[in-house]
């Protein structure tokens, strides 16, 4: 099975405090720790497991700047066979549909049976997979937390729905699936793995190689534009307890007694 996985380099929210710049134009990007989008990592692991079971190859692709190469290399160190970077000044400021259109152009240059994305990324929109499927006229399922290969034409997929329930579907190939975290346990990537792929060439495709009209993507082609980042006027929020740990715990103990938190 030929599998393509779309991945994105994002600020790691588990490692960073995200601060909005004073002028609202962006978040503070100095000293941010970046990593591969968590959902995408599960998608790559799932692709590798399917490949190892039924054969074929896994290609990882990313729309981004030069630095996105590092996440492609990381996913290749996990075991992906190929990496492709889709990069062009014209791609900057793309909305979800723009990113999907860029990925579509790359996908149409090859022949893939299965296309995976993460269910969502740093902007929390959960949109590129569904848009890509619609643009390619392929079947789609979101929030996939189980995949079983029935045969060369069909998959059985589980979708995570409300309340811990799982919705089972049969879907025909080729198709696009967006992958939910927890579907598998992504393998660990060591320094040695990264070194092994350090010199593998990663082709870069821009608008002209992909046959994309530059004005149709990027900020120029975006139907949805981000105007600013801002810090909202929030309510009072929590009463913050301060002091040393001993004092804090005394206070918490008092509160727990008062609120029925101790039995």
């Amino acid at each position: 099975m030929e599998i393509l996985v779309c991945v994105k380099r994002v600020p790691d929210t588990a490692e960073n405090e995200i601060e909005v710049k004073g002028d609202g134009s962006d978040i503070e990007r100095d000293d941010l720790v970046y990593s591969v989008n968590e959902w995408d990592n599960y998608a790559v692991e799932e692709a590798l497991q399917i490949r190892d079971k039924v054969g074929g190859a896994v290609t990882v692709v990313s729309v981004g700047d030069d630095e996105s190469e590092e996440v492609l290399r990381r996913e290749m160190a996990m075991g992906a066979d190929k990496g492709v970077l889709l990069s062009d000044d014209a791609f900057e400021g793309s909305d979800g549909a723009g990113v999907a259109a860029i990925l579509k152009a790359e996908i149409e240059k090859g022949k893939y049976d299965l296309i995976l994305t993460g269910a969502q990324a740093d902007d929390g929109a959960a949109q590129v997979g569904g848009m890509l499927a619609a643009m390619l006229d392929l079947p789609f399922a979101s929030l996939v937390n189980a995949i079983e290969v029935i045969d060369g034409n069909t998959l059985k997929v589980g979708r995570e729905i409300e309340g811990g329930n799982q919705e089972m579907n049969e879907i025909s190939l080729p198709c696009v699936l967006s992958i939910q975290t927890g579907i598998n346990e992504p393998r660990y990537v060591g320094i040695r793995g990264i070194r092994k792929v350090a010199s593998v060439e990663i082709p870069v495709h821009g608008a002209s190689q992909l046959g994309i009209e530059p004005a149709s993507v990027g900020a120029a082609g975006a139907k949805v534009r981000r105007l600013d980042y801002f810090v909202p006027e929030l309510g009072e929020g929590a009463e913050m307890l301060e002091g040393d740990m001993d004092e804090i715990c005394d206070k918490v103990l008092e509160l727990l007694k008062a609120k029925g938190g101790l039995k």
Binding site: Y229, L241, V252
Partner: protein
């Protein structure tokens, strides 16, 4: 102004809570707007939902089709493409169905799609300004799109107040004839119910809930010791289940359990809307997180900026004394 439609999710003949929230989401776009509810389904359950929703929407479009008895997003999309006018704003709840439906629908309708909207800011001509969050709720953004031709907008559960007036006395219009044949490339098979765990966290009045801040599987013992000292039960957020450190039945959130405790301790939990969506009944919430910007501090009653690995044993010891 493009006409506003609200897609109504329902289950077992009862409309989802989002049905009332979308009434107000439409009014936030345009205070004079009366949105039209679109309800797809089949048979008696559909009838019941339409009557219920007519109390809140002036007009309800009913689509009765055997293939739509279960809401398969692909079939609903095909039905909506036949049903909706070329220009219209469609509001959809940003839940596991809305995420499945809306991005592809927007592409097929050639309309802008704005996902997980938490507020409508303003409408200037046809330019709609909306509020979203990024980075797990750590940054807010304004986004804009031109709604001259319409738009597909997914709204976050709980972000818009429900419209409880129920004074619409709306009219149900049967639009089933507009849909015709529907065929899917993705076939719904069944819903597999969640497995029951060894502990029912929904029955506990006091929850000690752990998130990513627990850092390592072996630290879960610290939470268990604290819970034992308090007479509480350990629950968790999604990353702990993803890591297979605790069973799925312990997960609080929209994709896990909905809990209604009296006291909720959120330890090392950032507070994503999916997690908060599983906490009902307004419990007294104590949040401990290393990150002072964690969204959990906006909803907690009491907050502590600290490492939970230091906090938990200290509190356990205090209770023991």
């Amino acid at each position: 102004m493009a006409q506003i439609f609200a897609y109504i999710r329902h289950k077992d003949g009862v409309a989802d809570d989002s049905a009332l929230e979308l009434v107000n989401a439409a009014k936030q776009i345009d205070s004079g707007a009366a949105a039209t509810a679109v309800v797809t389904g089949s048979g008696a359950e559909l009838e019941a939902v339409c009557s219920q929703v007519a109390a809140s929407y002036a007009q309800v479009w009913k689509v009765d089709h055997a293939a739509l008895a279960y809401p398969n997003a692909e079939l609903v999309r095909k039905a909506l493409l036949k049903l909706l006018p070329a220009t219209g704003i469609l509001l959809v709840a940003h839940d596991t169905f809305g995420m499945d439906l809306s991005p592809g629908l927007a592409v097929k309708m050639n309309l802008p799609f704005v996902s997980d909207v938490i507020a409508m800011d303003s409408l200037d001509g046809t330019a709609l300004k909306l509020v979203r969050q990024e980075y797990g709720g750590m940054a807010h953004t304004h986004v804009t799109c031109d709604t001259a031709a319409g738009a597909v907008i997914n709204t976050r559960a709980g972000a818009f107040a429900p419209d409880e007036s129920k004074a619409a006395a709306g009219q149900v219009v049967d639009k089933s004839g507009a849909v015709g044949d529907l065929a899917a490339t993705r076939a719904f098979l069944e819903v597999v119910a969640a497995e029951a765990g060894d502990v029912d966290i929904t029955k506990s009045d006091v929850l000690v809930s752990i998130g990513r801040g627990i850092e390592d599987q072996e630290n879960i013992e610290l939470a268990e010791e604290l819970a034992q000292a308090m007479g509480a039960v350990v629950s968790c957020s999604r990353p702990i289940v993803d890591a297979k450190w605790l069973e799925k039945a312990r997960q609080v959130g929209t994709s896990g359990q909905t809990v209604k405790p009296k006291v909720y301790m959120a330890l090392g939990i950032s507070g994503s809307f999916q997690h908060l969506g599983g906490i009902k009944g307004n419990p007294f919430m104590i949040a401990v997180n290393k990150n002072p910007k964690a969204p959990i501090f906006q909803v907690a009653d009491v907050g502590i900026v600290a490492d939970i690995l230091e906090f938990m044993p200290e509190l356990t010891e205090k209770i023991a004394k």
